[in-house]
Symmetry: C2
């Protein structure tokens, strides 16, 4: 039997489709574990067991602080952590919501998401990534873009989220490429940068033509030899293109940093570069962890 | 045992999700039958049996002509009927494709769809509805709009389809309202015209904001009390709105007639009326039948 790791605290990123935990020591990461027991698969009563399945090997006899962010704090999650309202700092240790547990070896707290009353918008999880990005690049003023299923653009000033806007870009890409009539023309591995660039430029110059351009992917596959990799890359360009067209008030003339998965961030960086914007890329998981660490440090001080 | 109807010919509308047949006499419809054995559910070898399950009670001993249109003629259908190229008349009896059958009581012919090389576009089934619309309103010059899963706008002049454009509007509505994160906010029966009109006007004035406006439906449901009927109607308005924004070269200053299901055509008529366009509504099934009848008359003359 191996002895437990006994981390100082445990960081948890708990989204709709995934659960990721880090065993943390004062000087870094002791261990990391992931599972696919995301919020979407769990009833409220099942979260504690799902978490313990992942982190049990790390636990000793004394209680350890677990700090979680993401959809775990939504109404359909483990325990609702009511939204904080922008403008505000991305995270606030005083707003952490404690979750009662049956197992005395963990003390669980969930970071709330942010809401913007008008135009109505919400985020859960990204606020922690934003806090991490600000911890990694202190005094950053400008725009943070978090590409993904529901891409977010946030205006950051003096350490606060001033405003933000969400785009359903990633979800549209998944629905269209996997579940619509377009799926028939998306076969084959590979990627075509030229097709991406042409979709991007079409969408930026005539965004209103989206629904017609989408069907063109199908028609060109049938009668003009458009390949799967070309179709997929052009679809991506079209969707990122209309996002950029609408997010222009965010990125125009502003410093922009991207937070997210490497491949997707690089596509956004390429798209922004075509508009003359050089964006810095910050890795998503590091930002999440740095944001949770900010909360852990401040929670420690308070208790 | 009842005696068979012995129709003069049989009209068949065979789409991806449905199969509809009419037993026709020289002076009208003798009987009508539908099933859900659409093209999407059948392998090439299964079409004949699916058709016979529907029309067998109508058949006597002598062979009867069956004229079909729709996805039944696609590469994944019963027998491919290669696209005709616009500009051309919507249908042409000389282009009907005969399909060999095992049962000698039917002689089956499929009407081909239309393709447009540039911008690449295709239709199957709508060309027959267009032919029917022209039979019902002779000498019509102007625009025909066929709202649906893949809405079509066609420019008609001197009995020919000059050009056309397809929008994935209906499919986007189905994916977003039934399979995306927005489905959570779409519960409840009912409809809200004001929400439809506001989505429409948002999309027409700022079409590039679509992906952001979509997520607003979710956010307003969570924090601003948007109801299911309001969300559904606004989604419909947004999607029809970006379609109208892109189809403006078609409808601006042109006579417009709508061909389709009553409720959907009325939404499009309402949307067009807000832009100052008074559109005539032609019922979809009647147009399909009138188009098939045009082919039947001319086929009879030829044989």
């Amino acid at each position: 039997m191996t002895s437990p790791l006994c981390p100082t605290w445990i960081a948890v990123d708990w989204g709709t489709t995934h659960l990721r935990a880090w065993a943390m020591a004062p000087d870094g990461i002791l261990a990391e574990a992931t599972s696919d027991e995301g919020m979407g698969r769990l009833a409220a009563t099942e979260f504690e067991a799902a978490l313990l399945r992942l982190i049990d090997p790390w636990l000793g006899t004394s209680a350890v602080q677990v700090i979680a962010c993401g959809m775990v704090g939504s109404r359909q999650g483990w325990h609702e952590a009511p939204y904080r309202t922008v403008p505000c700092a991305p995270v606030d240790p005083a707003a952490l919501v404690s979750v009662p547990t049956r197992d005395g070896r963990i003390r669980v707290a969930i970071a709330p998401g942010l809401k913007q009353p008008k135009p109505a918008d919400v985020m859960r999880g990204e606020e922690t990534q934003i806090a991490g990005a600000l911890a990694l690049t202190p005094n950053y003023d400008g725009i943070l873009c978090l590409p993904g299923t529901h891409s977010k653009w946030a205006h950051i000033s003096a350490g606060e989220v001033v405003s933000f806007q969400t785009f359903m870009t990633g979800e549209l890409f998944a629905l269209l490429s996997e579940q619509s009539v377009l799926r028939h023309g998306m076969q084959g591995d590979g990627w075509d940068d030229t097709a991406f660039d042409s979709g991007l430029s079409d969408a930026l110059s005539r965004p209103e033509r989206l629904a017609a351009r989408l069907f063109s992917l199908r028609a060109e596959g049938l009668i003009a030899g458009l390949t799967g990799p070309q179709a997929r890359a052009r679809l991506s360009g079209l969707l990122i293109g209309i996002e950029l067209a609408a997010a222009k008030p965010y990125w125009l003339g502003q410093p922009v940093a991207l937070i997210g998965a490497q491949a997707l961030s690089q596509l956004y960086a390429r798209a922004l570069a075509a508009q003359g914007v050089v964006a810095q890329i910050l890795p998503g998981p590091q930002c999440t962890l740095a944001g949770l660490a900010t909360l852990a440090r401040q929670t420690e001080t308070r208790t």
